[in-house]
């Protein structure tokens, strides 16, 4: 196509920082009409930030941003919409109280024609169009039900429907398939191809290379917030891309020192929570790293949360080092010797507006308080060695955690839990959204801890991480453990197969 | 609070200046925004100006047992010569009033008395018996001395109200056997509450013949409701009211007759009594005599009380002559 001469979207050396956190150093991207462009990079590489700059969610700090050749600068997402940019954000953002249809058309609901109904929303037309969209995506969702209570997958589909319905010239999809099952993915791809053939420009972000190679024609790699390379998919290989993403050979990224496996530390039997997971039984032994793999939304975090007791569960037992752990009682779990580094650092792992020192000391207060009294001094004193141990980068312990980079925040969370001297460490997405350097440190630390006989339950959506770190891989699908694979037998293929519905659909 | 009038003079030592030679008299009504007290305090100001004292009016914007306390305390701090109070609560103010008296301030109560042990003098607008009797007489005349009547009072814990009501009950029982007091409701001296309570009274007691409201806010609100209701003319309304608030309703026939003393005179007398106390002409002992400007001579009666006179009846024929 001639349009290919001037790219629809063109970014050069775009940067964006949040305080000290440099999310995007120099992001560059050029997408032509009639093409599907893959954007890949590790967690925290800056992909979503780049997307949000294009969408007008964030104002870029520097760099050039052209749309259809024209320099643009969006102050709000409304402006980007008007300019013909549609975005599927990584995290679904829906209005729980509003109907599915209203969620799709919010801000641009079709108005009735005619004098009287001129300012009136044409609900009929709206529902009809929503229905048509779901037809096209091949899913059952009642357009009239509220978004409240939808699964992550359904939420993701609604985001997709919303973006498609804009019929924009540029469609950006940030990990749209993360929570989708095989046939849902297939339909999404079908729609994407038809859009490409209509001459739209598409950007596709995913951590799954098979999808990238199946769908896209061009691939841009990012690392640590910077542009690395752009190649035609046909002319590159998975290993080349991975090498560029990681910036070194894959081998030395996961320094797993094999520790000798000891006694059973965690014993979970028939754990069940209606609607989340059921019949979950597994054990973790001293010195063992057990990986929980699966799709986003599979329920791994829910399982972890139930085991640690932040969520209640309906049935089952949790035993730690032979002693039963009280249900729905994090304090009890901590006393029993559990530590839990949750998935969402900003909301769950840290009091993000609290100081680094107080965060580190937050779980061991009872220990450091003298005759019931506690002072900032004693907290900082207790926190200091652990900050040292993990080499947290901060210029003082009273700095807000919010001012730190993702990686350092993760270190603070880990420090806070190591300070409790636990028997079992549950760690959910240990390296999500942190830079490569820190990532390696975290991995080294984990295997080191295992080496000293700590039992570790690691949840990760990153196959390489699971395969690299785990002595044993448990695969979770729709709230059930569908496979238990030893380190040596684990391959991307059999783990992915156990994790996705597609396999059983095929059979 | 002060009306916008004297807030202009605020900043200079206003009602303060206890040190100066001019007698400083501060009026403290139950609450601001009540035209009855507007008039009485105006009377007080008139008197204070006559004898060349310094007048101030302060007061809370809501009625409550201790909403007046901070104003009494302040007056004590300012060391005003005399404080003229209409008490919201006979007990709640005592500590503050006594503190003020210890600080050398003479305390005169008017309209609504406090515990005699914590004031120097009470200016009684009319004897409780006199007030109760005139109200009962009026309602009896208006309803032909038989039928159901109800009382619309102020706050449920307003001392003078409750005292009058007690005597009215007695008076009805003794001299008006055919009149039945069926209900007493409390409008808290708030227009809307009184208004809605009146509505409730009428719907609760279908054959109600008359309403007595011994409070100026209450009677005005009740009149307002009656004037727009079917009961207009059928249900008699009387009590204590000010001519300006009631004029419309007397003229349109909602109300035939109501009573009140002249609140202006009451404030006027209170101011002169305060002056007399400050100058040491009287101590509050029974039999003490003093002259209250144009009102003439008065004598202190039992338990340090001075009586203004008998309540005055207002009706179509004379209401035009009054403006307060």
């Amino acid at each position: 196509m001639s349009a290919a001469t001037t790219p629809v979207l063109e970014l050069r050396d775009v940067s964006k920082s949040f305080g000290p956190v440099v999310a995007l150093r120099s992001g560059s991207l050029a997408v032509g009409a009639g093409s599907i462009h893959a954007l890949v990079g590790e967690n925290g590489a800056g992909k979503s930030t780049l997307v949000k700059v294009v969408a007008g969610v964030y104002r870029r700090d520097g760099g050039e941003f052209r749309l259809g050749g024209q320099p643009v600068d969006f102050a709000s997402t409304a402006e980007s919409k008007d300019a013909g940019v549609a975005v599927i954000y990584q995290e679904p953002t829906l209005f729980p109280d509003l109907s599915v249809t209203e969620n799709i058309f919010m801000g641009r609901m079709p108005l009735g024609s005619g004098r009287l109904s001129g300012r009136r929303i044409d609900k009929g037309a709206m529902h009809a169009e929503a229905t048509a969209l779901f037809q096209r995506l091949g899913v059952h969702i009642d357009p009239r039900r509220p978004a409240l209570g939808l699964s992550i997958a359904d939420q993701q589909i609604i985001e997709i429907a919303k973006a498609i319905s804009l019929d924009a010239r540029l469609l950006i999809m940030d990990e749209p398939t993360a929570a989708l099952s095989g046939n849902e993915v297939a339909r999404l791809f079908a729609v994407a191809r038809s859009l490409r053939d209509e001459g739209r420009a598409l950007v596709f972000i995913s951590h799954r290379f098979d999808e990238v190679f199946e769908l896209c024609d061009t691939v841009t790699v990012m690392r640590d917030g910077s542009y690395i390379s752009t190649d035609r998919v046909a002319e590159t290989t998975e290993s080349q891309i991975v090498a560029k993403m990681v910036g070194r050979e894959v081998g030395d990224l996961f320094p797993k020192t094999v520790a000798e496996i000891g006694e059973v530390v965690l014993d979970v039997q028939n754990l069940e929570t209606a609607g989340e997971f059921h019949g979950v039984s597994f054990q973790v032994r001293a010195g063992e790293i057990v990986g929980l793999a699966g799709l986003v939304g599979a329920g791994r975090s829910e399982i972890a949360r139930a085991v640690f007791g932040v969520d209640a569960y309906d049935a089952g037992t949790v035993t730690l080092a032979g002693k039963p752990v009280p249900a729905h009682d994090p304090r009890g779990a901590i006393r029993a010797g559990m530590a839990f580094v949750p998935e969402d650092r900003r909301q769950q792992g840290l009091v993000i507006q609290g100081s680094v020192g107080k965060n580190i000391a937050s779980v061991i207060r009872s220990r450091i308080s003298k005759s019931g009294l506690i002072t900032a001094g004693s907290e900082y004193a207790a926190a200091r060695p652990w900050a040292d141990r993990l080499e947290v980068k901060t210029n003082a312990l009273d700095m807000k955690a919010a001012t730190m980079s993702g990686g350092n925040q993760q270190k603070v969370v880990i420090a806070k839990w190591l300070a409790t001297n636990p028997k079992l460490l549950i760690i959910d997405e240990p390296t999500r959204g942190i830079d490569v350097g820190t990532k390696a440190e975290v991995h080294r630390l984990l295997s080191e801890l295992a080496g000293q006989g700590l039992a570790i339950l690691m949840i990760s959506s990153e196959l390489p991480e699971v395969l690299g770190m785990a002595d044993r891989v448990l695969v979770v699908r729709e709230g059930q453990i569908t496979a238990d694979i030893a380190r040596d037998d684990a391959t991307p293929e059999n783990v992915m197969a156990a994790a996705t519905r597609s396999s059983e659909k095929a059979s | 609070g002060c009306g916008s009038d004297d807030s202009s003079t605020a900043g200079d030592s206003g009602g303060g200046g206890g040190g100066g030679d001019a007698t400083t008299v501060t009026f403290l009504p139950k609450a601001l925004g009540n035209p009855y007290f507007d008039t009485s305090d105006a009377g007080g100001k008139k008197a204070v100006d006559e004898f060349g004292g310094t007048y101030a009016e302060v007061g809370p914007d809501t009625i409550g047992p201790d909403t007046q306390v901070s104003f009494i305390d302040t007056a004590a701090q300012q060391g005003v010569n005399a404080l003229v109070v209409s008490g919201n609560d006979p007990q709640a103010l005592c500590d503050s009033l006594n503190a003020a008296r210890d600080a050398g301030t003479k305390v005169v109560t008017f309209d609504s008395d406090v515990d005699p042990t914590c004031r120097d003098l009470f200016i009684n607008q009319a004897t409780a018996e006199g007030i109760a009797k005139v109200e009962v007489d009026m309602i009896a005349e208006q309803i032909g001395d038989s039928g159901e009547v109800a009382i619309l009072s102020a706050a449920a814990n307003a001392t003078n109200q409750n005292a009058w009501i007690k005597i009215m009950e007695q008076e009805l029982a003794d001299n008006h056997p055919d009149i039945k007091l069926v209900d007493t409701v409390y409008g808290d001296d708030d227009d809307q509450t009184s208004f809605d309570k009146t509505a409730a009274l009428l719907s609760d007691h279908p054959n109600l013949k008359g309403i007595i409201s011994p409070t100026t806010v209450g009677i005005a609100a009740a009149a307002r409701y009656l004037s727009t209701s079917d009961a207009k003319g059928k249900v008699a309304l009387t009590g204590l009211g000010t001519p300006n608030q009631m004029r419309d309703y007397v003229e349109d026939g909602t109300v035939t007759e109501f009573a009140l003393w002249n609140p202006g005179d009451l404030g006027y007398l209170a101011a002169y009594a305060a002056k007399a106390l400050v100058d040491g002409d009287i101590t509050g002992a029974e039999g003490d005599k003093f002259t209250a400007g144009e009102l003439g001579d008065f004598e202190v009666g039992a338990d340090a009380t001075v009586l203004l006179g008998e309540p005055y009846r207002f009706n179509k024929d004379n209401i035009a002559d009054f403006d307060f």
């Binding site: 003082a396 | 303060g16 409550g64 814990n157």
Partner: protein
């Protein structure tokens, strides 16, 4: 390296400083300091230029009148720091006075016993709020608007037309008698003790740390083992208890209990807490700031009354101070703000989950 025991903290290699700012900055550059400064300025100004403010009665009256507000502000501070609110304190105060009065005057209970029973009532009323908010998970704003009406209604039902007065002088005089020759009423003794207790509780105990964490991020607090529900429950119980204590004081001070005792106090209390630098979104504030906030309002009130200003001027000033305080802090936080969206709303996102006051 790998041999060092990871479960043992390393011996300090790079000693982290505890504080990024020096002592002076830390002590002076915050809301609390600003409020205290304002208090001092207003006080000094009044001393020199308001007639009679330097008189002996000023201190006495201020303390006598504002003790109840000060009392109720103590637990209210903690409650607002957790992101909740208690609008029912004044009604609790009212019903406590009524309850005690009725016990003494109509059931002949002796005053001491009656007061103990009243404090128990306060605990119960607080527990009702606490249960509905902490365990049923209802928004405290709505719940305590309900109990605001309910408790006041109970007071009216209890007392009706009675006017309860004439309590045993030995109790009745105690709170307002002066300590020695000073101008300080004795009620200040319990108030001061409680102030210290709450100050320690909030600033020097694990419980207090939990209070702040709940305000900043209920989820994170829950994830690190803070018992969010129990903490909130206890706070509302304290609020009820203290409010009924304040009720007893008001009753004794006035030597009377009436249906409208303490009406409207709740907003005064909340206003002074917010003036004291506590964020309505929770997570921020300190008790000394709040105490200064209460005293600031008290001193302003006294000074304005002494210069014969009406209560309306005080209202206007309180109102403007409130608005100014939030606007200033919103400016500050907008400059300091690191996140693209203001924390305020990110706190709010989870709607029902985060039971914060509407922004």
């Amino acid at each position: 390296m790998a041999t060092t025991d990871a479960l043992e903290p390393a011996t300090t290699r790079r000693g982290y400083p505890s504080y990024s700012r020096n002592v002076v900055q830390r002590l002076l550059l915050n809301r609390e300091a600003a409020v205290i400064a304002a208090l001092v300025v207003v006080y000094v100004y009044s001393l020199v230029s308001v007639d009679f403010f330097d008189g002996p009665l000023t201190t006495y009256n201020i303390l006598k009148e504002y003790s109840p507000i000060l009392l109720m502000a103590l637990p209210m501070t903690l409650i607002i720091i957790t992101g909740e609110i208690d609008l029912s304190v004044a009604s609790t105060l009212g019903v406590s006075a009524a309850f005690c009065g009725v016990l003494v005057k109509e059931h002949g209970v002796d005053l001491t016993t009656a007061m103990v029973l009243t404090l128990v009532l306060g605990i119960v009323l607080g527990a009702v709020n606490g249960f509905l908010v902490a365990y049923v998970g209802l928004p405290s704003l709505a719940v305590t608007i309900g109990t605001l009406a309910l408790y006041r209604g109970l007071a009216e039902g209890l007392i009706q037309t009675d006017r309860i007065a004439g309590f045993d002088p030995k109790w009745q005089d105690w709170p307002t008698e002066r300590i020695g020759g000073t101008n300080v009423p004795q009620i200040v003794i319990p108030v001061a003790i409680l102030a210290v207790v709450f100050f320690v509780l909030l600033h020097f105990t694990s419980f207090g740390r939990g209070v702040y964490e709940i305000g900043l991020s209920p989820e994170a607090a829950h994830f690190s083992g803070v018992n969010v529900a129990r903490t909130k429950f206890l706070l509302f119980v304290m609020s009820g208890l203290i409010a009924s204590l304040a009720g007893l004081y008001v009753m004794l001070r006035a030597d009377s209990a009436a249906t409208d005792t303490g009406i409207g106090f709740e907003l005064k209390v909340i206003a002074s807490v917010l003036l004291g630098g506590v964020s309505i979104f929770g997570g921020r504030g300190a008790l000394h700031g709040v105490i200064a906030g209460v005293l600031l309002i008290a001193v302003l009130n006294s000074a304005l009354l002494l210069s014969n200003q009406g209560s309306e001027v005080i209202q206007i000033i309180i109102g403007l101070l409130l608005v100014a305080s939030v606007i200033s802090s919103s400016f500050l936080s907008r400059f300091r703000e690191l996140l693209p969206r203001r924390t305020a709303s990110t706190n709010q996102v989870s709607g029902q989950k985060s039971r914060k006051a509407p922004q």
